[in-house]
C-alpha cells in the first residue's frame, strides 16, 4: 500500500507542482485565470447589494479559479507527457497509472488554490470589496475539502484526454457549462428549476455553499457540514470514477499499443 500507492501519489504531487512552477504555460494559466474569472465576479458584484451575495461572488471567482486551473493544467500535463514519451515510461513501472495521475491532479488543484487566492485578492482590490470571515477555521477546512473534491472531478475527466484529441475541445464546453450549472456566482434559486437537481452533482456548487456558509456568521454550521458531506461523497465518487477510468485506459493502452511514441 505504502510502496505502490502513497509513494507514487506523494512523489507525483511534489514533482508535478515543481514542474508547474517552472513551466511558462502553467504560470500563464495561473495568472490568466484570476483575471478572467475575477472580471466575471466584478460584473456580478455591480448588481449585488447584500453581504451574502457579495461573499458568494467574491469567493465564486476563487472556486472557478481552482476548477479551471485544475482542468487546464491537467490538459497540458497529460497531453504533454503522453507525447514526450513520459507516460510510456510510467507504464513500465509497477505503479498504477491512476495513482500517479491522482498525485499530479492534486498538485494541479493545489496550484488552483494559489490562483484562487490571487483571484479573490484581485476582485477585492478592484471593487474595493471586503468580506468578513467570521469563522476562519471553518473557512480553511471548507477550502481544503472543496479543493480536493473539485480536483477529483478534474481527475475523473482526465482519462478522456488520452483517448481522444477532441477531449481537449470538449473540455472548454465542460468548463464553462459547469460553472453556469453550479451557480457559483449567484444563488441556486436563480437557476431554472430543471437545472437545480443537476447542479447537485457538481462539487463546485457545494464548494460555493461550504465557503459562503463558513464565512457567514449567521449561517448555521449544519449547512456547512451538509456541504462538506456532499463534497466528500462527490469527491470519493469522482476519484473512484477517475481511478476506474485510468485502470480501463491502462488495459486498453497495453492491448492496443496506442500510446506508442517511440
Amino acid at each position: 500500500m505504502t510502496a505502490f500507492v502513497v509513494r507514487p501519489v506523494a512523489a507525483s504531487f511534489r514533482y508535478q507542482l515543481r514542474v508547474n512552477l517552472t513551466t511558462l504555460s502553467s504560470i500563464l494559466i495561473f495568472l490568466a485565470t484570476p483575471i478572467i474569472f475575477g472580471s466575471v465576479s466584478v460584473l456580478f458584484l455591480n448588481s449585488y447589494n447584500s453581504p451574502e451575495l457579495t461573499t458568494r461572488a467574491v469567493l465564486g471567482s476563487g472556486i472557478v479559479a481552482v476548477w479551471t486551473t485544475s482542468l487546464m493544467l491537467s490538459n497540458i500535463t497529460l497531453s504533454g507527457e503522453r507525447w514526450s514519451g513520459v507516460v510510456e515510461m510510467f507504464l513500465a513501472t509497477p505503479s498504477r497509472l491512476g495513482t500517479m495521475m491522482l498525485g499530479k491532479l492534486l498538485a494541479n488543484a493545489a496550484q488552483g488554490v494559489m490562483a484562487a487566492c490571487l483571484s479573490v485578492t484581485v476582485v477585492s482590490l478592484v471593487t474595493v470589496t471586503t468580506i468578513s470571515v467570521e469563522k476562519p477555521l471553518l473557512l480553511g477546512l471548507s477550502a481544503v475539502i472543496a479543493t480536493v473534491s473539485v480536483g477529483a472531478l478534474a481527475f475523473a475527466w482526465s482519462p478522456m484526454l488520452f483517448i481522444s484529441r477532441n477531449a481537449t475541445s470538449v473540455f472548454f464546453v465542460l468548463d464553462t457549462s459547469l460553472v453556469f450549472v453550479s451557480a457559483v456566482f449567484f444563488p441556486l434559486s436563480r437557476l431554472p428549476d430543471w437545472l437545480q437537481p443537476i447542479s447537485r452533482l457538481s462539487p463546485l456548487r457545494w464548494a460555493s455553499e461550504a465557503l459562503v456558509t463558513s464565512a457567514d456568521a449567521n449561517a448555521p454550521a449544519s449547512e456547512t457540514f451538509e456541504a462538506w458531506a456532499a463534497l466528500a461523497i462527490l469527491g470519493l465518487v469522482y476519484a473512484g470514477i477517475g481511478l476506474a477510468g485510468f485502470g480501463l485506459l491502462e488495459r486498453r493502452l497495453r492491448r492496443t499499443g496506442e500510446l506508442s511514441t517511440f
Binding site: 509513494r7 514533482y15 510510456e88 515510461m89 513500465a92
Partner: protein
C-alpha cells in the same frame, strides 16, 4: 531465479488497423539464459521494438506466451515490472524541467522505493554514469549523451534482474556512443540479463554474448557473434583498393567460380572493390589479374566476414527467399 531469464513460446503480436492487420511478431520462440548480454538484430519493422514492448508489458501479446524473470508478461505484469529496467534510445521520456537527480528520485518512488533508498541509489547511479557533477542541473541543459546516460541510470534504479535497452546509442556521436558502450559493458553482474537492440553492428558485436537476428517477426538466426558469422552463407571477403574504376573487369569477376557478390564504391580518390566468395584461395590471383587489365592495384587483402557482412547476407537471403529484389 530460473535459468532462462526470458522465454518466448509461439509468441505472436498483431496490430489491428482499420483496413488491415499487421503481424509484428509471428510465432516467435526464443529463450535467453540468465546473466547474458543478448542482442536483437533486425531491419526496421522486423519486430524488435514490439518484442521489447511485449516483454516489458507495455503491450500484451495476441497469442502465445512469454515469461520474464519467471513471471508471465500477460498475467503477472506487475511482478514483471518490479524486476525489470527499461531504457529506450533518444532523449525523450524525461522531465526536462527537473534536475537529473529529481528525475531519478521521482521514478524511484514510482518503483516503490523509500526516499532514503531512492536517494542512496540515485547518488550511486549518478556516479556510475558520470553525472554526479551535473546532478542538480535541469535535464534541458544536458547533452544528448548525458540524457542517454541518465536513461541508463533510471533503468538500473531497481537493480533489475532483466534490463531492456532499445537502441540506446541511437543519435549519439561516435564518442558518446563509445562511452555508452563502455557503460553497458560494465552492466554485467551476476544474475543480471541485458537484452539489447541496436542498428549498430559494432554495439552488438562488442557487447553481446549471444544474439538473434529477426525479420518479419520471426527468428532468422541465433548464436554467438562468432557462430552467426560462420552461419552466414559466405566464407571470405576479398577487398581490393584500385586507382580507377574498372568496367569490364567487374563483369568478368562476377563470372568467376564461387563468387557470391561483387560491389565497388569510391573511397576518397580511389575505389574499393569488395568480392564476397565461398573461398578466397586461388580466386584472389584471378581477381587481381582482371583488375590490373584496367586499373592499378593499390592494395589487396582477404578478411573474414564481419557481423555486419553476415547480417546483410542473412537479410539478402531472406529477400531472395520471399522474392523481393535487393
Amino acid at each position: 531465479m530460473p535459468e532462462d531469464a526470458v522465454i518466448c513460446t509461439n509468441l505472436r503480436r498483431v496490430y489491428a488497423g482499420r483496413s488491415k492487420e499487421t503481424v509484428a511478431i509471428d510465432d516467435l520462440t526464443l529463450s535467453i539464459a540468465s546473466g547474458q548480454i543478448f542482442g536483437l538484430l533486425g531491419p526496421n519493422g522486423a519486430g524488435k521494438t514490439t518484442l521489447i514492448k511485449v516483454l516489458t508489458t507495455l503491450l500484451s501479446p495476441t497469442s502465445g506466451s512469454a515469461t520474464v524473470a519467471g513471471f508471465d508478461v500477460a498475467r503477472q505484469g506487475r511482478q514483471v515490472r518490479r524486476r525489470i529496467g527499461f531504457v529506450f534510445g533518444g532523449d525523450r521520456g524525461l522531465y526536462y524541467r527537473l534536475s537529473g537527480r529529481d528525475n531519478l528520485l521521482y521514478f524511484g518512488a514510482l518503483y516503490g522505493l523509500s526516499r532514503t533508498e531512492a536517494g542512496d541509489r540515485t547518488d550511486r547511479l549518478l556516479g556510475a554514469v558520470g553525472l554526479s557533477q551535473h546532478a542538480s542541473r535541469r535535464v534541458e541543459q544536458y547533452s544528448r549523451g548525458m540524457r542517454q546516460r541518465l536513461h541508463v541510470a533510471r533503468g538500473l534504479l531497481t537493480d533489475p534482474q532483466v534490463l531492456f535497452l532499445d537502441e540506446p546509442t541511437i543519435g549519439l556521436d561516435p564518442e558518446g556512443a563509445r562511452e555508452l558502450r563502455e557503460l553497458i559493458s560494465g552492466l554485467r553482474a551476476p544474475g543480471r540479463t541485458v537484452l539489447l537492440t541496436s542498428h549498430y553492428m559494432m554495439d552488438i558485436d562488442l557487447l553481446c554474448d549471444r544474439l538473434t537476428i529477426i525479420g518479419e517477426g520471426k527468428v532468422l538466426a541465433e548464436g554467438t557473434p562468432g557462430e552467426i558469422r560462420r552461419q552466414a552463407p559466405q566464407a571470405e571477403i576479398i577487398e581490393v583498393e584500385l586507382e580507377s574504376q574498372p568496367a569490364a573487369a567487374l563483369a568478368a569477376i562476377r563470372e568467376l567460380p564461387t563468387v557470391i557478390s561483387v560491389a565497388i564504391e569510391p573511397r576518397g580518390t580511389a575505389f574499393r572493390l569488395t568480392v564476397t566468395c565461398e573461398s578466397a584461395g586461388i580466386l584472389l590471383d584471378q581477381v587481381l589479374a582482371h583488375c590490373r587489365v584496367e586499373s592499378t592495384v593499390l592494395a589487396s587483402y582477404v578478411r573474414q566476414p564481419t557481423l555486419e557482412d553476415s547480417y546483410l547476407a542473412f537479410m539478402q537471403g531472406r529477400r531472395e527467399a520471399v522474392g523481393v529484389p535487393a
